[in-house]
Amino acid sequence: MSGALFAEQLLNGLQFGVMLFVMAAGLTLVFGVMGLINLAHGSLYMLGAFACAAVAAATGSFVLGLAASLAAAAIAGVLVETLIIRHLYARDHLDQVIATFALILVFTEGTRWAFGSFPLYLNLPDALSGSVSLPGGITYPLFRLLIIGVGLAIAAGLFLLVNRTRLGMRIRAGESDREMIAALGVDIGRLYTIVFALGAALAGLAGALVGSVQAVQIGMGEPVLILAFVVIVVGGIGSITGAFVGAILVGVTDTLGRFLLPQAFGLIMDASSATSVGSALASMLIYVLMALVLVFRPTGLFGKPA
């Protein structure tokens, strides 16, 4: 195994991790501020990807596609929040789970109806589709590097937003005491809609970016949603820092596990069984990570102790 190959896998893990963060940030904000568990977050991710694919195909502009993914997911977020989600804040988690599960069904089948069952592929503009040479003889796709940059920029932006702005102050107040913030005269309904739409827009952007690398298809949101859950369980619900650390941990563990485990088993068994055993175990690795975190910190790495 060469160092360059390892570095490339590490970058892949980082890229996966930052996209998981962009997904998980919305989930953890919505849970932290509104106390809502939103399964339909993955649908917003899918919606963003489809919006990007459709607009990019129609206009020929990838940048317009990305803008469309943000806008479509944010608008869908506002609609869903005002029509349905709003009625669920006071309900128990079971009602929230079922209602947002129902939303997944509506979104998934609605998208299938609108776009058909076949995956769509996005064409990256030439300017973004090449590779770059990094120090140490590593060549890495430019677009993936860009994704890492965008993810880190969003992380930085969220930190600033939550810790330095008026909106962020309200978000933090909402996390610690929902009644107090209402007493302060903040329009809590509007705050909730804004937070939900922000989370939705981030999910939509993540969907568009990941969809550009992989494929845009029905049901692409749920596997990512479940990984985002693992991320916030590891990081601690409600914590942006936790979401970031958890996302990078999960992204890197998963990617390196898939890369290294088959090779490791190759040392003790024949190549084909090493590949199957290794990849089967690699697919379980992040859940083992989650279980380990739970043993030592039941409320996650950055979660408030119960």
């Binding site: 789970v97 129902a102 299938r112 109806w113 479940i226 859940y287 989650m290 043993v295 039941p298």
Partner: protein
């Protein structure tokens, strides 16, 4: 007789009636549908113990449903290929006897449920939901990537397994077996929630602080309920695999977990007859809406939303009024 008991018996009678109607009219499709409803109801009844009576919102019961299914598939296909299921550490031979398969499925679900329960019950609330979901997903990916039992393609075993020498390929016979198992499971559930354990579980749901102050650890009570719940859902999984003569990772998917939960919600949470009502309603919706549009799940989603927003007690809740397990 209590109103809720009456409703449960009526629901069972309706299910039986539907199958009898299919049997008389020689419509195997209806009988098989009724068998499917009975199996889904068993899976839902299992989940209902944890989710309804215990307040443990498990979004990972597909894990147990799937484990039950794979137990059935692996044992049955081993028997048909004249191979042992495993040779180490103990040798286990294949079998086509349903009772043997049921017991193995139940034990397998138990073995998986204990660690999952121990990890996920360390936390509560929304963490519990996410962690159960995540562990089920772990098994799903494992099943997809482990090639020995068909991987992504699943495992077929062509002929249903048998019990008492009956011809299980006959839809009516298969239905009666499933219906019998459902009746036994519901009777067991009725006894369980009225027992000392049921009282402790009810207290764990309503006020864990009080349960602790009374000298009983909520964790132990919840873990027991979670494991029993998983065992029942595992049994349903074995029956479902037999119904289809096929098992695949889809049985382990998050979508299956959601569906089992939907049976409970549509029918009524913490209602004995809830899962029966829910499973029947779900299959009825599927059959009728499927005729309206190819995208029937959009309509199902809307129905579900309406139930959550406006009819929170589910079908049994509408019929029976306020819940009354321990009053």
């Amino acid at each position: 007789m209590r109103r809720e008991t009456l409703i449960t018996l009526t629901l069972l009678a309706l299910l039986l009636g539907a199958a009898v109607y299919g049997h008389r009219g020689n419509e195997p499709f209806i009988i098989t549908l009724a068998a499917k409803a009975a199996i889904f109801a068993i899976a839902g009844a299992g989940l209902n113990l944890a989710l309804g009576y215990g307040g443990l919102v498990s979004f990972g019961h597909a894990a147990f449903f799937g484990i039950g299914g794979y137990a059935a598939g692996i044992i049955a296909s081993a028997a048909r290929n004249y191979e042992p299921v495993m040779t180490w550490p103990i040798e286990i031979a294949g079998s086509t006897s349903m009772p043997v398969i049921w017991i193995v499925a139940i034990i397998a679900a138990m073995i998986i449920a204990i660690p999952i329960g121990i990890f996920s019950l360390r936390t509560g609330g929304v963490y519990f939901i996410m962690i159960t979901l995540a562990f089920a997903q772990m098994l799903y990916y494992f099943a997809v990537s482990w090639p020995a039992y068909g991987g992504e393609d699943g495992l077929s075993f062509y002929v249903r397994n048998s019990v008492f020498g009956l011809n299980m390929m006959d839809p009516w016979t298969y239905f009666t077996v499933c219906f019998g198992v459902l009746a036994v499971v519901l009777a067991l559930m009725a006894v369980l929630v009225r027992s000392r354990f049921g009282l402790a579980l009810e207290m764990a749901r309503q006020n864990a602080q009080r349960l602790t102050a009374s000298g009983i650890r909520p964790f132990n009570v919840r873990l027991t309920a979670f494991v029993i719940s998983a065992m029942i859902t595992g049994l349903a999984g074995a029956l479902y695999a037999d119904l289809n003569r096929f098992v695949s990772p889809a049985m382990l998917s998050w979508h299956t977990s959601g569906e089992i939960m939907v049976f409970v919600i549509l029918g009524g949470v913490a209602r004995l007859g809830g899962p029966v009502a829910g499973a029947c309603l779900y299959l009825l919706l599927e059959q009728t809406l499927d005729g309206v549009t190819d995208y029937w799940q959009v309509l199902l989603g809307i129905v579900l939303l309406l139930v959550v927003l406006f009819a929170r007690g589910g079908l049994v809740g509408l019929l029976a009024g306020r819940r009354a397990a321990h009053d």
